[in-house]
């Protein structure tokens, strides 16, 4: 079946009522990167999730909030790095009166034993060091893998928002004409995709911050971001202000971590609506 044929089933798939061939077809389409159905099902999931509001309103037990926060504190405590146990120094060999009549063979055996022990300890230390190094490399590889996966997922989301017919493209013009343009795509449900390339490198102590300037009220922070090493930006951020209440989009240069309100002049800006 084609994506066009499956489009009528997106909501039913998101609701979980599809079975058999139809479900298998949909699963197969969703497994293909870039398939049109991925976007359609993502929107349908949002829509179906709204049915949650049909549940009769109920008051959670008063103690639940405290239980969650206690569990969070316990989790945080467990995840706090524990100081590595300090290896205790070996006790000093006891120096005492030696037995005078210690046979030569015993001296030889003791020396051999000491040599073997020394060698074994050294081997173990080397192996432990190698093992620690391998673990470190594995962790690094896993992190790199996760980062790549995250980038892939993010690029997929950006592409979905950019290509959606429901998205509204907005060009943010730079105040400094040497700077490139920043593109934003406002989607009614999936948030806002932001893309740019050929951006200049930024110090790690600074960040770019995107703001929604509502028709009434103060600017609302949408996202903080940093161009990557290739000078590119590609991300999707949630939008909490309804589209028809947005007057403009603006980007400012802020300290790392962002600011509650803009602290520097606008670097990029676009009027909306």
């Amino acid at each position: 079946m084609t994506c066009e044929q499956l489009a009528a089933l997106y909501e039913e798939y998101a609701l979980g009522v599809l079975e058999g061939e139809e479900r298998a077809e949909m699963d197969a389409h969703l497994a293909r990167p870039g398939d049109q159905c991925i976007h359609g099902v993502a929107e349908a999931r949002w829509m179906v999730a709204q049915l949650s509001h049909a549940a009769p309103a109920a008051e959670p037990p008063a103690a639940l909030r405290g239980k969650i926060m206690n569990a969070v504190k316990q989790t945080a405590a467990k995840e706090t790095p524990v100081v590595s146990p300090i290896e205790k120094a070996k006790p000093e060999p006891k120096i005492g009166p030696q037995r005078a009549a210690f046979p030569m063979w015993a001296w030889a055996a003791a020396a051999a034993l000491a040599l073997i022990t020394g060698y074994t300890v050294r081997q173990m230390n080397t192996q432990n060091t190698q093992l620690a190094e391998l673990r470190k490399q594995m962790k690094l590889a896993a992190l790199q893998n996760q980062t790549l996966q995250n980038q892939l997922d993010m690029n997929r989301m950006v592409a979905m928002v950019m290509t959606s017919p429901d998205s509204m493209p907005v060009k943010l013009m730079p105040k400094d004409t040497k700077m490139p343009m920043v593109h934003a795509y406002l989607h009614p449900h999936m948030g806002m995709a932001i893309t740019a390339d050929q951006m200049p490198t930024m110090p790690s102590a600074r960040t770019l911050q995107l703001w929604i300037v509502p028709k009434d009220g103060k600017p609302v922070s949408v996202a903080i971001f940093h161009p990557d090493s290739a000078g590119e930006i590609a991300l999707v951020a949630p939008v909490t202000v309804p589209k028809n209440e947005i007057a403009a989009l603006a980007v400012t240069d802020e300290p790392a971590g962002g600011s509650p309100q803009p602290t520097t002049p606008i670097a990029w800006m676009a009027a909306v609506n």
Binding site: L15, W46, M47, L51, A54, I68, N150
Partner: protein, 178 residues
């Protein structure tokens, strides 16, 4: 979410204050057991705390993400319970709560409450059998043929009820967001 990612527990408290009630209401409606619902909700918020980075990846609005996670968790619980019942082949001892405590409209999130009203109004406007079919799908996690079996209606009828109901939902939400 940025603050949760930075392990700021006050951000999670704020999130619970905003979404704790609707999430609990949804989970209780599906799980039908207050003690289990409490456990599931606790688990959901802890999951959110631990996996905030996964949400950062998928981005998009938080609310549907949270509701979808809550629905999936609660349906998993329900399916497990049904499976146990099937295996035991005797009656379940859990206390079934027929309906949750109705509370006054929450203060605060007007959008959320407006949308909730819209969804409830839409479902109320549907013929009872159609509404029941959609509720069986959403809150009980039943498929087309399982709903047909549960209601005794032909499979084709169930499919057209659900399709029609979802179409109305789409139209209604489209109007709301435009």
């Amino acid at each position: 979410m940025e603050r949760i990612l930075q392990q700021d527990s006050t951000a999670l408290e704020a999130l619970y204050d905003r979404y704790g009630r609707p999430v609990y209401s949804l989970v209780l409606r599906i799980a039908q057991n207050p003690a289990s619902a409490e456990e599931i909700v606790q688990d959901i918020f802890l999951q959110l705390w631990r996996s905030a980075d996964r949400f950062q990846i998928s981005r998009g609005p938080l609310e549907p993400w949270l509701f979808t996670m809550a629905r999936n968790r609660a349906l998993d619980f329900l399916r497990l319970k049904r499976e146990k019942q099937r295996r035991r082949e005797d009656s379940d001892t859990d206390v079934i709560v027929p309906s949750a405590v109705v509370r006054p409209d929450p203060e605060g999130d007007i959008d959320q409450s407006r949308r909730a009203e819209k969804i409830r109004a839409l479902l109320t406007s549907l013929p009872e059998a159609q509404r029941h079919a959609i509720e069986l799908a959403f809150f009980e996690g039943l498929t087309h043929s399982e709903i047909a079996e549960a209601t005794g209606e032909p499979l084709g009828t169930v499919k057209s009820w659900i399709r029609g109901g979802l179409l109305k939902l789409r139209e209604s939400l489209g109007e709301a967001s435009s």
